[in-house]
């Protein structure tokens, strides 16, 4: 069945609300409005204001309350409108959700799921458009998911809710309208393994989330030039699937990391480091990176596009890695 990423995510939330009465959704405008990205459209009407709960404009408060509810046996899904606003709740996420198990000697786990939109491309300016999931992937105690396909949008949430620890799900804003084929019986998926989205033997394109579609497009263009790229979708940023990263590099001997986050001190830096640590002698070319320009993401359309990774840049980096068209 043909569906969109947005609808798949909504189906996942709906199923969770139906299957477990401990589950509830809360956040800004998630109720009658249906969410600022229309993910929860119709759920308020179906489940009512107790289970699809609009909150005051208090990110720290509703994440903190989500932690409290999770500690007491509930299974909250907290929606933060954009990753930029998650910074208002950073203390609750990093100092609390991620540490309470440790600081209670294992007595309090926090089965909280936080969903948020990330990324640029919609002319929302520097305070609504950043890609900060790499920061969160730095923090022990959190599990970081980046669904990039309709299957993962449909399937990751339930597995995340079953996880005993706090899970953050980053939904790239450009993916909501992505449509794809979803099996009628599609359901929960794993949240620990990376996935090869395209097989190839010449170069590995390693990416996740919002940059998966453009990376696949780049792989198509490279194929037309005779370069077979393998595309690895990380899916989970913490913990990283080291084995899958290693396997593809051992296969192709060349790697390009595509990450919409900024380059310095980033997830792409971490992946590059891991490749050099564990597969240095497998490499036939330096690890390359395609990241966002290190500027606040601009509001002007052309500048915003110029700041972001593009299929063209991935193609250029891959050509360079294989030695000018290999």
């Amino acid at each position: 069945m043909e569906t969109t990423y947005r609808e798949a995510m909504r189906t996942a939330i709906r199923e969770a609300l139906l299957q477990d009465d401990r589950v509830f959704l809360m956040g800004e405008d998630v109720g009658a409005y249906g969410g600022c990205f229309a993910v929860s459209l119709g759920l308020f009407e179906e489940f009512g204001p107790e289970r699809v709960r609009d909150t005051p404009l208090s990110e720290s408060a509703f994440v903190g309350a989500g932690i409290g509810a999770a500690l007491n046996g509930m299974r909250p899904i907290v929606e933060i409108m954009t990753v930029n606003f998650s910074l208002l709740a950073l203390d609750q996420i990093v100092n609390n959700a991620a540490t309470l198990l440790h600081m209670s000697g294992g007595q309090f786990n926090v089965p909280l799921v936080i969903r948020m939109t990330t990324g640029a491309g919609r002319q929302l300016g520097a305070q609504h458009s950043h890609s900060l999931e790499g920061w969160f992937a730095h923090v022990p105690g959190l599990r970081i998911l980046t669904p990039a396909t309709v299957e993962d949008a449909r399937g990751m949430l339930w597995t995340a809710l079953e996880d005993p620890d706090p899970v953050l799900i980053f939904e790239h804003g450009s993916l909501y309208n992505l449509s794809g084929e979803l099996a009628e019986d599609a359901g929960p998926v794993d949240i620990h393994a990376a996935a090869v989205r395209r097989e190839g033997g010449d170069v590995s394109l390693i990416t996740y989330g919002g940059t998966l579609p453009l990376t696949l497009e780049a792989a198509d263009r490279l194929a037309a030039e005779g370069i077979e790229a393998e595309v690895l979708d990380l899916r989970t940023l913490r913990p990283l699937d080291d084995a899958a990263i290693l396997a593809t590099v051992v296969k192709t001997h060349r790697a390009v990391v595509v990450d919409e986050g900024w380059r310095s001190g980033s997830l792409s830096a971490e992946i590059s480091a891991r490749i050099t640590e564990s597969a240095f002698y497998e490499l036939d070319a330096p690890v390359a990176r395609v990241c966002s320009a290190e500027v606040p993401i601009p509001y002007a359309r052309d500048l915003e596009l110029a700041a972001l990774p593009s299929a063209e840049r991935v193609v250029a980096a891959a050509r360079e890695a294989v030695g000018g068209g290999g």
Binding site: E28, D54, L57, A293, P298, A300, D302
Partner: protein, 391 residues
């Protein structure tokens, strides 16, 4: 748990009319006595009211023009202020030049009264430049997108004013939704503790995107500051005179070492949150119509129509009639709109080299390397650009 819906107002809390709402001009245009506000309105003349009418008419037109420009694809986004003209004009008219304003993204009317060229607002929302005005010339900070964050900046600025024994004050604008943010509450703690010359100006426009004000506050927003030790006043935000008087009173208190004041201007966002929003999804037509009857411009017009006499004169000494007031306001709005459209045609999109501007105030070697890398990358396409040009 109870089953109280958060989407319906608690009983016993009608919005207007209400005894604790300061109102000087009724929706019908009748002047009402107000013990607290009247001393601040002694200089009000028909000419001054005509000026307020003109300013509100111009910014309504500016707002309408920009909303249309967004619909035509000329602006990426616009946050309409329709319905909030009196709150913005009344408060901004009370400010002195040396006072400093910390706005949210919706204070386009305040910006206009601070001397910002309407074309500057268009440049900003079009993305032609990163900013639409010079803060040093206007004493207007850059717009804030994060809800409520600017309230803390205003308090910090006011701490500096106090240190300098300045006679200026700072004013922070925000909405009803922002009062739930930690920043706004922490700003009130700081302002009270340090007794700084700041005015917290809350435009309660009843909606934070789709969320009604009753979700942010079970009592009037103006009840809350008292707990922080900050006096507050709840005024009719569609009454330009009440807003003017309340803001003058608060600013004077700040200048005289009286510390912070909080104003809740009760108004209504007649349009969408931004042009990306569709308010018909979450509020009733009846509610909007009820507020239309409290229009801020209509009531000034009604008041003038009822009170102008043959002896009232305009600035040129000619007879001041309601027709003349309407015409002068409409002409000012037309001229602004014409200049806006002419100016728009001359706006140039930023070139790709602008991408790396304003990240750091001084040269930065990593950014320079990135800029050079990008320049070389763009140079690869020179041929293609020529081809496109040849076509």
């Amino acid at each position: 748990m109870g089953t109280v819906s958060l989407n319906t107002p608690p009983t016993g809390m009608p919005h207007v009319p209400e005894p604790d709402l300061h109102q000087v001009l009724t929706p019908e245009g009748h002047r009402r006595p107000d013990h607290d506000l009247d001393p601040w309105l002694e200089d009000v003349t028909a000419t001054m009211l005509a000026g307020l009418h003109r300013d509100m008419t111009v910014i309504r037109r500016l707002d309408t023009e920009c909303t249309h420009l967004q619909r035509q694809g000329e602006l990426a986004l616009w946050p309409p202020l329709l319905g909030q003209e009196a709150s913005q004009v009344g408060s901004a008219a009370a400010l002195h030049r040396e006072d400093y304003v910390f706005p949210s993204y919706r204070e386009n009317g305040v910006a206009y009264l601070r001397g910002v060229d309407p074309l500057g607002l268009v440049r900003l929302w079009r993305g032609s430049t990163y900013s639409g005005w010079n803060p040093a010339e206007t004493n207007l900070a850059a717009q804030q997108i994060i809800i409520g964050a600017q309230s803390l900046h205003a308090v910090g600025y006011a701490m500096g004013l106090r240190r300098d024994h300045s006679e200026a004050a700072a004013i922070s604008y925000f909405g009803d939704g922002a009062t739930s943010q930690g920043d706004v509450n922490e700003a009130m703690v700081f302002a009270a503790s340090y007794h700084v010359p700041v005015v917290f100006f809350c435009q309660n426009n009843h909606w934070a995107i789709s969320e009604p004000v009753t979700l942010q506050a079970r009592r009037h927003i103006a009840d809350r500051p008292w707990g922080f030790g900050i006096p507050a006043m709840r005024v009719d935000g569609n009454d330009v005179l009440a807003v003017l008087a309340a803001t003058r009173r608060a600013l004077e208190r700040a200048r005289n070492g009286g510390g912070p004041t909080f104003i809740e201007a009760v108004t209504y966002r007649m349009g969408p949150h931004t042009t990306a929003d569709d308010p018909t999804r979450y509020r009733s037509k009846d509610e909007v119509e009820a507020w239309r009857a409290k229009d801020p411009i209509d009531r000034v017009e009604a008041h003038l129509a009822a009170t102008l006499t043959d002896s009232d004169r305009d600035a040129q000494g000619g007879p001041l009639t309601i027709e003349a007031v309407r015409e002068a306001s409409a002409t000012a709005a037309d001229e602004m709109a014409a200049a806006l459209r002419t100016g728009l045609a001359g706006l140039v999109d930023p070139g790709p080299e602008a991408l790396f501007e304003h990240v750091y105030a001084e040269p930065h070697h990593e950014l320079a390397r990135q800029r050079e890398h990008y320049r070389l990358y763009l140079a690869q396409f020179d041929g293609e650009q020529l081809e496109a040009g040849a076509r």
